[in-house]
């Protein structure tokens, strides 16, 4: 096992910069997720670690060893990096049975037939596919094939495991189950995992740390709670979970805010000097409460109610400002006039 260090990585594809300024240190045994919208450079980053893509600039080290450094003319090909990888399309070889698929990395290492099959059986046991070794991939379900891919990556005792949206081809239920299995597996084996997804729930359920990316650059690195509660910028706040952005003007004495689009309703809140006079008040739907209509608060009309079972999602229109609110109970219906109460402790500004 080993950590991974990416230093100042940059990747250009004929003029287009897919990844830029990327620095990240991953500790041994850590579970780190690259999260970001489609096309933000997650796969490119992962494939630079694997060695399928050579970075334009910067260096990649696995453990103590530098595996990519164009400035120093160092490039270790993928087959010499001892990395396990699980592909989105499983990439289980259709012409080999499950046992041969899983044992293949050991065959390359010239491990004796009997030993490698024994080890393969053990790893199959680990991913709950014991006894399936003689089957062929087309006889397995998508989830089972994904586990074969996991087993094949695990068998070589890799320094690092890379997973590129490994669950995106599975149905919702199986996806949920596999999340926990992968996490479980990581705890048991202690392998370092770098995981790519654009599904934030997946990222939050599994990761020790999340790296939020946009347009090829890192937006924030942090633990799940940090990313959710203290987003580093507007992009992260918007991308992770739901959030309301409400344009406000700060009062002269900087002790309150006026909501511009809603008749300049005043909210008492001490605003730090460095934020300027015009701010974007950001607040998550669950940090807002709705109460019976009362003149002294911000008032709005319920324009949409969606019942999700565990929560009820309201869309309120206060003047020109739309506000999403999530409550536990269904207390109001469309057309109701309500007061909107913010939890000021949770305010964020951008």
């Amino acid at each position: 096992m080993a950590g991974v260090v990416l230093e100042n990585i940059k990747k250009n594809f004929d003029g287009f910069t897919a990844v830029n300024n990327f620095t990240l240190e991953i500790k041994d045994g850590e579970f780190v997720t690259l999260l970001g919208p489609s096309g933000c450079g997650k796969t490119t980053t992962l494939r630079m670690i694997a060695g399928f893509i050579e970075p334009t600039e910067g260096s990649v080290s696995i453990g103590e060893r530098i595996v990519s450094n164009p400035a120093g003319h160092i490039f270790v090909p993928p087959e010499e990096r001892n990395i396990g990888m699980v592909f989105q399309t499983y990439a289980v070889w259709p012409h080999m049975n499950i046992l041969d698929n899983v044992a293949y990395p050991l065959k390359i290492k010239k491990i004796a037939r009997r030993n490698r099959y024994k080890k393969a059986e053990q790893v199959l046991e680990l991913v709950q596919l014991g006894g399936m070794g003689k089957r062929y991939p087309h006889q397995l379900s998508g989830g089972q094939q994904q586990r074969v891919a996991l087993a094949r990556a695990l068998i070589m005792d890799p320094h690092v495991m890379l997973l590129d949206e490994p669950l995106s081809n599975l149905d919702a239920k199986l996806r949920e189950q596999m999340r926990f299995e992968i996490k479980e597996l990581q705890k048991r084996t202690g392998v370092t995992i770098i995981y790519v997804t654009h599904d934030q729930a997946e990222a939050m359920a599994m990761s020790d740390r999340i790296v939020v990316m946009n347009r090829g650059e890192i937006q924030q690195i942090g633990k799940t709670e940090e990313i959710y509660e203290k987003p580093a910028n507007k992009f992260v706040a918007d991308f992770i979970g739901l959030i309301n952005f409400i344009p406000c003007r700060v009062s002269r004495d900087r002790r309150s805010l006026f909501i511009r689009g809603a008749g300049n309703v005043e909210i008492e809140y001490p605003v730090p000097e460095e934020l300027g006079d015009d701010v974007l008040l950001s607040v998550r739907p669950e940090d807002i409460d709705l109460q019976e209509y009362s003149r002294k608060n911000l008032v709005g009309t319920v324009t949409r109610v969606t019942y999700f079972g565990n929560i009820v999602d309201y869309l309120i229109r206060a003047g020109d400002v739309p506000i999403r609110v999530q409550l536990k109970e269904k207390e109001f219906t469309e057309g109701d006039r309500v007061s909107v109460i913010f939890d000021c402790k949770k305010f964020l500004f951008y």
Binding site: T43, A50, F52, P77, P78, E79, E80, R81, N82, I83, G84, M85, F87, Q88, T89, A91, V92, W93, P94, H95, Y104, P105, I108, K109, A149, R152, A153, M156
Partner: protein, 558 residues
């Protein structure tokens, strides 16, 4: 209302197919089992027991198998180079390697004869330079046949393998690499085994097309008395006035030919196609090209050399011959002339007739097959009845069996007068009939695939708005499948224009085709005129290919 019209179409299609396909093939099969008026296996035993006949069967298998092995090897290697390595000018090489498909095999054979034959350019240059009477090498008979069969046959494997490699999910190879396997280990353990059924399918197509080929063994083998099934059948028919039983033996031989070809095609259809791995690509992965480093230019040179030797040199050889005053003179500038072109285009009645005939045949065959193909594929795609499969099956038969066999069936079926005076034998119509039947499959397939993209609801919308069946076919379906119709027309026009195998058996004086003219001139020793006519043909083919590629935006053509 609609069903009754549909029935009319089905009956019409079935009658047409009965006349064009079932009748000639039925006659052929019947004839093969008939000896002195009785049903027997005599004809077959005559093939197997007469050395001269049996040996043709053996030769056919021998040259086809050897050239298939060589072509498969060549095609696979070239496909891998083009699909998986970073050689320079990859796109150009990719197209260049398909060009042998455009050169008719018998013309390739003539060209190679002029290149490497005992009196060919390479030997004459060698003998002139070395001032010797001994040629550098003598390649003729079976090895010459194998050589030309290989170089004109590899594109089948090249194309199918290239397609397979391009469709293959690159993650499969990457998974091998990340497991620790180097480039060549991945190739051996993953790429090759996964491609095996696809390569196998390509190989069998090569084999079937080789064993069915007439032009190459006719040009390269017959002068050396090296006979294969197709050329033997041709000889037997040619001499059926002299040799007793010739026709009966030829039919029995054609049965062997047909069965071998059919076995190959059935094996592909029912075994290999099922084995092929459906390898869908992931969304964000393109095949990774192997960085060849210093090998880059070596492999490029190899691919380039293949194009040079297989396409460029033969065409140059035949062009030189066409430009030379007389065959045998050194092709130097002062011996150059356009006289040969003038002669075949304006002087020689036979070649002028042949050009007229071939254009007539190609125009009518492509127009008629496209119309028929539209109707039949409409029944096939839209129909729900059992008859649908029957029609599809019948329409695909003539293309699946060797041209020589089908032509023989036509001879046996139509070699008589009907109702006292209707006799198409020895007229141009028998060739036209044969072409229509043989190339119908092209039309049904191309038009069918474009028809499949037209949703039936579009038509239903027209019926609902009150237009009749024919009206809606004309207003809705035809415009939508226009490009398919066009492609079908062209795909029939091109091969019929250059056709030899069928017409060489069915022609008669006055009804020659260009292929027959080129072949007869070559056989008769008028090599330069033959070359001039061949060059004209090649120019038309390449121009036509370019045109269809441009118009269909690369969907058809090479």
């Amino acid at each position: 209302m609609r069903t009754s019209k549909g029935d009319v179409v089905i009956i019409f299609s079935l009658v047409l197919l009965a006349v064009l396909v079932v009748y000639p093939l039925g006659s052929l099969i019947l004839r093969a089992f008939l000896s002195e008026g009785e049903v027997s296996l005599d004809n077959f035993s005559k093939v197997l027991s007469t050395r001269e006949n049996f040996i043709a069967l053996w030769h056919s298998l021998f040259v086809s198998i050897i050239s298939t092995i060589l072509a498969t090897f060549l095609g696979t290697v070239l496909a891998w180079i083009v699909a998986r390595t970073d050689i320079p000018f990859r796109k150009k090489i990719k197209t260049g390697l398909m060009m042998p498909f455009l050169i008719p095999p018998f013309i390739a054979a003539i060209a190679w004869l002029q290149l490497i034959g005992p009196a060919g350019y390479i030997n004459s240059i060698y003998m002139t330079v070395k001032e010797t009477w001994n040629p550098l090498f003598v390649i003729y008979g079976k090895w010459a046949v194998i050589l030309v069969m290989t170089v004109s046959g590899y594109p089948f494997v090249y194309l199918t393998t290239l397609g397979g490699l391009e469709r293959m999910n690159p993650s499969l190879e990457e998974a091998g690499q990340i497991s620790g396997a180097g480039t060549f280990r991945v190739m051996k353990d993953i790429t090759l085994p996964m491609m095996a059924p696809t390569i196998g399918a390509g190989a069998i197509l090569v084999f079937v097309s080789r064993i069915a080929n007439f032009g190459i063994p006719a040009v390269m083998g017959m002068p050396d008395n090296y006979y294969v099934l197709t050329t033997k059948i041709y000889r037997l028919i040619d001499q059926s006035f002299v040799i007793p039983d010739a026709q009966a033996i030829a039919t029995a031989m054609s049965m062997f030919l047909m069965i071998i070809a059919a076995c190959g095609l059935l094996f592909v259809k029912f075994y290999l196609r099922g084995k092929e791995y459906t390898v869908i690509s992931g969304k964000d992965v393109q095949p990774k090209l192997v960085k060849l480093g210093k090998w880059r230019y070596l492999l490029f040179a190899f691919a380039f050399l293949v194009i040079l030797v297989i396409v460029v040199l033969p065409v140059i050889a035949i062009l030189l011959t066409a430009l030379t005053r007389a065959w045998g003179l050194p092709p130097t500038l002062d011996n150059w002339t356009l006289e040969n072109f003038r002669y075949v285009l304006f002087d020689l009645d036979m070649s002028r007739r042949a050009i007229r005939n071939s254009i007539f045949l190609a125009l009518s065959a492509s127009t008629i097959t496209t119309l028929m193909g539209a109707i039949i594929s409409y029944v096939v795609v839209r129909g729900k009845m059992k008859s649908r499969q029957l029609i599809d099956f019948l329409a695909s038969i003539p293309y699946s069996i060797p041209g020589t066999v089908f032509a023989l069936g036509m001879i046996i079926a139509w070699n008589r007068a009907f109702w006292g005076r209707l006799n198409i034998y020895n007229t141009i119509w028998i060739i036209l009939f044969a072409y229509i039947a043989r190339y119908l499959a092209y039309s049904v397939r191309t038009v069918g695939s474009s028809l499949r993209q037209v949703d039936v609801s579009l038509e239903e919308a027209a019926w609902v708005s009150g237009s009749g069946w024919l009206q809606s076919f004309k207003d809705i379906v035809l415009p939508l499948i226009k490009s398919g119709l066009f492609a079908s027309w062209f795909l029939v026009f091109m091969p019929t224009l250059r056709e030899l195998t069928i017409s060489v058996l069915l022609w008669s004086t006055g009804n020659e085709t260009i292929g027959v003219a080129v072949y007869n001139l070559q056989e008769g020793g008028d090599v330069t005129s033959s070359a001039a006519l061949a060059i004209i043909m090649i120019i038309v083919i390449f121009a036509g290919n370019y045109l269809i590629k441009k118009i269909t935006r690369g969907e058809y053509g090479y």
